[in-house]
């Protein structure tokens, strides 16, 4: 508990008494915060048990849950304002504790949380009511509302989070629920492809957050809370004593925020996320999800506010994004894409406002933008008749302009560039993803049979050799650590680029995690049980997943990753189990693995840049690999064409 902003003492009541009562009330208020996570969790869990055809109950639970939450938040905010709006912070659950490391859930409440919580609750409530009718009889009605609640839990975790760890759990939930809702129409190719594409961006952001957490552990030797950043000495000390490390943290946060808010150069994912039902696009990509980047900046503002460089970078990103995105929005000829870019442009401005410290404006701007874009997306199908009608009465044929002047030529050049979305998609693909795919393909020598066998031998040698660790030279440890870590990354990349056997890719991914663990075992004095925490979830999930793949293979024949199979059409049950296994495997907070990942990183020193990069990349590609396997095997156009199957281009 720290830093509670206090009001001025009243003249009537003795100073001390008032102070104490406010303190007490703040404690009480802090205690209430957890309920804003609990309410949607209860709704989510209740929804799981409702049969999928019970539309009224399913949507009713969502609406009731979010409605209750909205009322609760509203009441809470009024009460909070009446008590002079203290900043609240409370450490709730300690999930893991060891002498050098503590993992705990922490909640926080200030005006930023208040605005985001209120706007989020109101919008989610409106969209849930809208969806109740809109989604009627849609295949996947239950899936939709369950995922909406999962999203809402994640959103609340993020905005109520008092430390990075809590925020990260919510952040992961947002990512996965995005993946599920973009790929909502799982029997078509484009939604599935784009869901993976968006996920790859999100995952990059996740890794940046993990790295920020990792560095902050080293900087403060504990899980720092956002409240502590409000103390200027903590921040000052960090920047004065460890400038580079502190800057590293900020840059990582900045990248994560830019990705999540679709700022340059990561903008192209946003229009491609508009694959799900219009309602989900409206709430995710029109409003809430896409503003989370801005939230992250607001939340971390106390930490970087005095660093002119950072403010400068943020302003530069925001400005260039708003200019470029506004230009792209001008040339878009499909409604949702246009709204997406218009929204990005405004978020660019919000970034600038945050960097300049105009937080009131930023919050107002966020709320306005979120409401406006949600509405515009919800009514986007009406645009056809509205604008055609408009044209009918107001159209004037335009005059052709011959591009003779230099200005005209530049204008046309910008037009072409904007139609191509400034090539960002292509550039990112070429310079960010393609090198990794290349490595993955080159790692093909590690397989299929002999390669895997020799790796196994190597692993056994590595693991057994561990008992000799004491006798070996420290430098040798380091080499082994890097070796195993590189092997782990190469294996993940191989699994990522795998085109043949799904089971093989799955096993390769699993083995890579063993190598990853091994590399960390060699690295430092890590305790076995900590590795155990990490591997326990992974191994169980991987075994369950393997059984699912095996079952599918025995029923349907080979499952190569060269194409989409769409087996969830016939085996939705296996598909669901496999999805859960995949989430567990990749460290989603349903197994202890998510805690393990944090633990593992803690054991990498602040100066082991190579190791941390290797390990981070490993986690980045692990989730992509795993969900790629899920997508290829269970999603997409169904392979068996005895029933209507969508065109690939639709």
């Amino acid at each position: 508990m720290s830093d509670i902003t206090l009001g001025h003492p009243s003249s009537l009541i003795p100073h001390q008494l008032k102070r104490k009562s406010i303190l007490n009330r703040s404690t009480l208020m802090s205690q209430i915060l957890q309920f804003f996570i609990l309410i949607p969790v209860v709704g989510f869990l209740a929804g799981l048990f409702v049969p999928r055809k019970k539309e009224r109950i399913l949507s009713g639970i969502s609406i009731a849950t979010i409605g209750l939450q909205t009322l609760g938040i509203l009441t809470f905010i009024v009460w909070w304002l009446m008590n002079r709006a203290p900043t609240l912070d409370i450490k709730h659950i300690v999930l893991y504790k060891s002498p050098e490391f503590e993992f705990f859930i922490d909640f926080y409440f200030d005006s930023i949380t208040a605005v985001f919580a209120l706007v989020g609750a109101v919008l989610t409530f409106l969209v849930a009511v809208f969806s109740r009718y809109y989604m009627h009889r849609e295949l996947g009605f239950k899936r939709y509302f369950i995922t909406l609640l999962l999203f809402y839990i994640g959103y609340n975790l993020v905005i109520f989070a008092g430390n990075f760890e809590t925020l990260f759990v919510g952040w992961e939930m947002l990512g996965i629920s995005s993946f599920l809702l973009i790929g909502f129409y799982r029997d078509r190719y484009l939604p599935v492809k784009n869901a993976l594409k968006v996920l790859s961006f999100y995952r990059l952001g996740d890794i940046c957050l993990i790295l920020a957490m990792w560095m902050s552990h080293h900087l403060w030797h504990k899980n720092i809370t956002f409240a502590e950043w409000n103390q200027s000495d903590v921040v000052l000390e960090a920047f004065q004593g460890h400038y580079l490390q502190a800057m590293f943290i900020v840059v990582m946060i900045l990248i994560a925020a830019a990705i999540k808010s679709a700022q340059l150069p990561f903008s192209t994912w946003l229009p491609r996320a508009m694959e799900g039902p219009t309602t989900s696009s409206a709430i995710f990509y029109g409003s809430l999800s896409v503003h989370i980047g801005a939230f992250l900046l607001l939340r971390t503002y106390p930490f970087w506010q005095h660093e002119m460089v950072i403010s400068g970078i943020i302003i530069a990103i925001g400005l260039s994004t708003s200019l470029v995105a506004a230009t792209i929005a001008r040339v878009q000829s499909s409604v949702k894409t246009q709204i997406a870019y218009a929204s990005i442009a405004q978020i660019g401005l919000i970034f600038i406002e945050i960097a300049l410290g105009w937080h009131g404006l930023a919050l107002l701007h966020f709320a306005g933008n979120a409401f406006l874009r949600t509405y515009q997306l919800l009514v986007s199908p009406s645009v056809l008749s509205y604008l055609v009608h408009d044209m009918f009465f107001n159209f004037s044929p335009r005059t052709t302009q011959v591009p003779d002047t230099l200005f005209q030529k530049i204008k046309q050049a910008v037009y072409v560039l904007s139609v191509k979305e400034w090539n960002f998609d292509y550039l990112l693909h070429r310079f960010l993803w393609r090198p990794f795919k290349w490595i993955g393909r080159k790692s093909g020598i590690m397989g299929p049979r002999w390669g895997l066998a020799s790796l196994l031998v190597l692993f056994i040698v590595g693991a057994t050799g561990f008992s000799l660790k004491e006798n070996l030279h420290f430098e040798f440890h380091q080499y082994l650590t890097l070796l195993f870590s590189s092997l782990a990354l190469a294996m993940v990349l191989k699994a990522f680029a795998e085109r043949e056997d799904a089971k093989h890719a799955w096993l390769t991914a699993l083995l890579s995690q063993f190598f990853s663990a091994l590399s960390l075992l060699w690295n430092k004095d890590i305790e076995w049980h900590q590795t155990g925490i990490y591997l326990s979830g992974t191994v169980v999930a991987a075994i369950v997943g393997y059984i699912c793949l095996h079952k599918i293979e025995s029923k349907e024949g080979e499952i190569s990753l060269n194409e989409y199979h769409g087996h969830s059409y016939e085996h939705p049950g296996i598909g669901l189990v496999f999805l859960l296994a995949a989430l567990g495997f990749s460290g989603f907070p349903i197994t202890p693995t998510f805690l393990g990942i944090d633990l593992m990183f803690t054991h990498i020193s602040a100066n082991q840049i190579v190791l941390v990069v290797l390990t981070a990349l490993n986690f980045l590609f692990l989730e992509l690999t795993i969900l790629r396997i899920y997508s290829r095997v269970f999603l997409g156009q169904h392979k068996k064409m005895y029933h209507p199957v969508a065109f690939k281009s639709s």
Partner: protein
């Protein structure tokens, strides 16, 4: 009376007033009709034929000859073929229903659909287990199934085939021919060319064709698509291409399709197959390009583009992608292809499974038809009521959604008489709303009117919706509007959910015409013209139309004091497909102007005088009143009520009350199919709920459109009056007694194929394969360029109907029942080859009811054969309210559940 005219006109929906209409040869129609003075040809502009041809020769599709493989590549021929097979749907604002497989209409139905299935991979019937489930649920009766099998396979084969149909396992998976060649890019070259090329191609196409979404339009001149791209590329600062070669090829400007194919494909024998593979990998976009090429006026902001240009540009983008991925020295595709070139259109082998499907389909169809015919038999035996006085007459559109309203109004006022005629009421014209910059066509799509009706005298500007303005998408005004309008948007979202009401952004059927405005219905003289169109009609022209319409319906005596002409339209919110709910006979628009124009003509003193000379004596007291029925909101509005005589005004007041009651009952009947409305609520609440649907942004099913349409009955109302047809029948009034020789019948029957058959088959195909032939679910739709919808930002356009419109539809063909002597009906359908094609190729079924004997004759293989219904008992509707209130909600929208509430034919107690 006969009235013949021949002229050639291009078919178009809207034209710019500034440009003269140029006649074109593309869609040539010969104008001949006794009644409607217009010809309904198929979608493909088959050549005109004289009515004297008694033995019809079917229009031969030129492609027939092409089904042998062309070793040498004939670009013109292949482009023509492509255009023939591509989806023909134009911009969504003019939604015109048509047979989704129109390209195969020269073949017999089953042959055609199985061929289409093999070539393009469409599902063309229900799935086997669905038919079997329908059988188990009793929706396909065993007796009917037995008869269908026995008739087609012989009685001795019954057991074998029944076993096949019911139990034999079949592998129904279908590997289409299309796409096989192009798939080698992936298998041989490890490149996904579609993903490399399509997103950018679609984006450029959409930007070029865009009607008004983008704030910054495609920089273009009048020369067309390819030329516009060349101009942009010549600029030189930026390029759509990643590499140089393709760009240079474009700039040099002399690359032909053959040249490019030589680089990409290599072997000339494969060119045709490759182009089909390529264009059908995005048939939606290719289809709209082809449609816009044929009639640029289909878009308000007309664009010059051709399939040729699209192919050239796409091939260049492919070369570009291949250069970028494979480097310079890649070989053409066919260097690595061993399979011989495939003739996509080669005959399709018939299989046992196809037989099974067609037997099931026949059984499914006849199960319903049989009970309909049995019902008609029973209903006809009841002696028609001798009417002493007729309180009023009401003419509705033949649209099957008016079927129930007619039943209810007849129930509420038993003295009234209702009639049905195509909803443009025989008056064909372009309409220009006041201040409108374009004309709207208000008659069936294949007709090109020579008349213009202008609205004037009551300008009422539509209010603006600030939240829709695209200024919110720019940087600075976007900034200001998020801070202001943004919060208004929150309020609006709230109101939208809890207080839905009409707003400018909702398509309002009643706003199509301002009822306070005047219309230029009467022509003022030779010079009263605009853009080659005659403004208004002369008295003679009016008389001809009124006479034709009245005679067609058999309404030539016994006129009531008031005759209502009720058009229909549909209000709906958030619905890009709103045109599909409007009147098909008015090119997908509300028919309010037609109703008003017709009423005006029929009330015209000079017209009355002329009619008298032609033997139609309309009493002076009789007055015609135009009206519009909003089929979604279930409301009726009336036009020009002020001119009614005092006596009629009093009657009108009474009639209006009757209509209101009928609308109450109609709303209640419709509520049966809406899960969100309980039919047990009070009428007032149901009416409110029905009305709210039409203005609710969150409601993807404002109404169910033409879902469940199955029948088209041409004859006197007495034939059907005793039947409960569950809103499934197009009802076209016709009285054989006034037309014993069948002179009027061709004019009546000619539109039935293209209009009713077109609606029916579009619903059929969208239902059986909503993925490939329908538009899929509406919910993820993204409006592209204001002319179409796609699923996402990078997707193909989705022609066809969305799942929300077709889910309750039974995919069965239309049964047309005509009350006349079989030889007259035979002569009628043979009077024009385009009409005959619909029947002889079995795209619709036809039964003639011999008025002398009340016997049924089924048209098969060119002749009428007697038909005896198997159905003995037709259940009566014991109580309408119970029937409606006991409906159960569908479990899912899978066919078997979703159509379980499609009611059988029942008898109405009179």
């Amino acid at each position: 009376m006969s009235w013949v005219t021949t002229s050639n006109h291009q078919t178009f929906q809207t034209i710019k007033p500034l440009k003269p209409i140029k006649p074109s040869n593309h869609q040539t129609t010969s104008f001949y009709s006794i009644l409607n003075k217009m010809n309904f040809s198929g979608q493909n502009g088959a050549k005109g034929h004289s009515v004297d041809v008694v033995t019809p020769t079917l229009p031969k599709h030129e492609g027939l000859a092409a089904h042998e493989l062309h070793p040498s590549f004939d670009e013109h021929h292949v482009l023509h073929e492509l255009k023939h097979y591509l989806p023909a749907q134009s911009a969504l604002k003019d939604f015109i229903h048509h047979n989704s497989l129109h390209a195969y209409q020269h073949l017999k139905f089953y042959k055609a659909i199985f061929k289409a299935s093999k070539i393009f991979g469409y599902q063309v019937t229900l799935q086997l287990q669905e038919f079997r489930q329908l059988y188990r649920n009793g929706r396909i009766r065993e007796t009917v199934l037995d008869r269908v099998i026995s008739e087609r396979k012989g009685v001795d084969q019954l057991a074998v085939w029944k076993e096949n149909l019911l139990h034999k396992p079949y592998d129904a998976s279908n590997t289409p021919r299309i796409g096989a060649l192009r798939s080698h890019w992936k298998s041989q070259f490890k490149i996904d060319l579609d993903s490399q090329v399509q997103p950018l191609l679609f984006r450029i196409l959409c930007s070029y064709l865009d009607q008004g979404i983008s704030l910054w339009q495609f920089p273009t001149d009048e020369k067309g698509f390819l030329s516009a791209i060349q101009t942009l590329e010549r600029n030189g600062f930026t390029s759509f291409f990643k590499t140089k070669r393709a760009r240079n090829l474009l700039l040099e400007g002399n690359c032909t399709i053959s040249d490019l194919l030589k680089m990409v494909v290599g072997n000339e024998a494969y060119y045709e197959q490759y182009l089909f593979d390529q264009q059908f990998s995005h048939q939606g976009w290719s289809g709209i390009v082809s449609a816009v090429e044929d009639s640029p006026q289909a878009l308000l902001d007309s664009k010059v583009i051709s399939l040729h240009d699209l192919i050239v540009f796409e091939l260049l983008l492919e070369i570009d992608a291949l250069d970028a991925c494979l480097g310079k020295g890649w070989e053409p595709l066919c260097n690595r292809v061993t399979a011989p070139p495939q003739n996509l259109f080669a005959d399709v082998e018939s299989t046992e499974l196809q037989e099974v499907f067609s037997l099931w389909q026949d059984a499914f169809e006849w199960d319903y038809y049989d009970s309909v015919l049995a019902g008609l038999g029973k209903s006809n035996k009841r002696s028609p009521q001798a009417r002493t006085a007729i309180s009023f007459q009401a003419v509705f559109c033949i649209d099957e959604r008016e079927c129930s309203l007619r039943r209810h109004i007849e129930h509420v006022d038993t003295e009234c008489e209702t009639l049905g005629a195509p909803g443009f009421f025989g008056v064909e014209f372009f309409f220009q709303p006041e201040n409108g910059k374009f004309y709207e066509k208000l008659c069936p799509a294949p007709v090109t009117p020579k008349y213009l009706i202008k609205e004037f005298g009551a300008s009422e500007k539509r209010k603006h919706e600030l939240l829709y303005t695209n200024k919110t998408h720019t940087l600075l005004s976007g900034f200001l509007s998020t801070l202001t309008l943004g919060f208004w948007a929150a309020v609006r979202t709230f109101l939208t959910l809890f207080r839905p009401k009409m707003s400018p952004a909702i398509s309002n059927a009643f706003a199509h015409m301002n009822e306070k405005a005047q219309l230029s219905i009467e022509n003022k003289g030779l010079h009263d013209r605009e853009n080659d169109l005659q403004i208004g009609f002369t008295v003679e022209e009016m008389t001809a139309r009124v006479e034709g319409q009245l005679r067609g319906m058999g309404l030539i005596k016994g006129f009531a004091p008031i005759i209502y002409i009720i058009a229909h339209g549909s209000s709906s919110a958030n619905n890009p497909h709103h045109g599909a709910h409007d009147c098909g006979a008015c090119s997908g628009r509300p028919g309010s102007v037609n109703a008003r124009v017709f009423a005006h003509m029929a009330n015209h003193v000079k017209v009355r005088a002329l009619l008298l000379t032609k033997g139609i004596d309309i009493p002076v007291e009789t007055q015609f009143v135009g009206g519009l029925h909003d089929t979604a909101a279930d409301e009726i509005g009336y036009f020009d009520q002020g001119f009614l005589t005092a006596k009629n005004a009093a009657l009108h007041l009474k009639n209006k009350a009757a209509f209101e009651k009928a609308l109450d009952l109609n709303a209640k009947e419709r509520s049966r199919r809406f899960a969100s409305i309980s039919s047990k609520m009070s009428i007032g609440k149901i009416r409110k709920a029905i009305k709210d649907r039409s203005v609710s942004l969150f409601e993807p099913r404002p109404e169910l459109g033409h879902g469940t349409n199955t029948l088209c009955i041409v004859g006197r109302r007495d034939m059907t009056k005793g039947l409960f047809l569950d809103r499934r029948a197009f009802l076209n009034s016709y009285d054989y007694r006034t037309d014993l020789e069948g002179k009027l019948l061709p004019g009546i029957m000619r539109p039935l194929g293209p209009v009713c058959g077109g609606i029916n088959l579009e619903y059929y195909f969208s239902r059986v394969d909503n993925y490939k032939l329908g538009a899929g679910t509406k919910l993820p739709h993204n409006v592209m360029g204001l002319f179409g919808v796609a699923n996402s930002s990078d997707g193909d356009l989705r022609p066809g109907l969305p799942v929300q419109m077709i889910e309750v539809h039974d995919p069965v063909r239309l049964l047309i029942v005509v009350e006349h002597f079989p030889d007259v009906v035979l002569k009628t359908i043979q009077s024009s080859p385009e009409m005959y094609e619909w029947f002889i190729n079995e795209w619709v079924h036809l039964v003639a009811v011999d008025p002398a004997t009340n016997q049924f004759f089924y048209f098969k293989e060119g002749a009428f054969l007697p038909y005896h219904p198997l159905t003995r008992d037709i259940a009566p509707v014991q109580d309408f309210h119970t029937l409606i209130e006991t409906a159960t909600e569908m479990e899912t929208n899978q066919i078997v559940d979703a159509t379980a509430e499609n009611l059988p034919v029942m008898m109405v107690n009179r």
